[in-house]
Symmetry: C2
């Protein structure tokens, strides 16, 4: 499940309106709509607030958010998988 999908589905199971979520995280309704459609990436601060507002485990949301950034960097590249694997190696040896 992708970030935007999770946000939308969580909001719906909690029966919240866009404007309600918007006010909780202090943002424009249109912006929340865009985030749920994947047109806008939330900032890290918005992720923090969304986790609270929608009652989602923070680390889960953060992981999806980071993963999305990574995905955007490499998507469409022939070398995408190899490049990500290489990063993984680097992270593991540095850990």
């Amino acid at each position: 499940m992708i970030l935007s999908e999770l946000l939308k589905s969580k909001r719906e199971t909690k029966n919240l309106l866009l404007r309600e979520v918007a006010s909780m995280i202090d943002a424009d309704t249109a912006l929340i709509s865009k985030i749920e459609k994947g047109d806008r990436k939330p900032t890290r601060e918005q992720i923090d607030k969304l986790a609270i507002a929608l009652d989602i485990e923070h680390s889960k949301l953060l992981k999806l958010w980071l993963s999305e950034k990574v995905y955007e960097d490499v998507k469409g590249e022939d070398l995408a998988i190899e490049a990500v694997k290489l990063t993984l190696k680097r992270l593991k040896t540095e850990k």
Copy 2:
């Protein structure tokens, strides 16, 4: 080997001066210096030119470049490895 290191070592084995590489890829000497120090990320076009100028396999350089972008996104994060793994999964299923 990280991108910047590779660029520098290749230039040195080929006995090229910074300004020579700079002129080959049509850039300021200072910029090449920064790239070799890791202070600046080359653009994709610069990667293409650098591969030619320094006689490095293009896909190798590109992979390092992509990997570096990914690394920058997640470095320092507790969830770095998990997030990258998640992206890898996504890429594999979409392949």
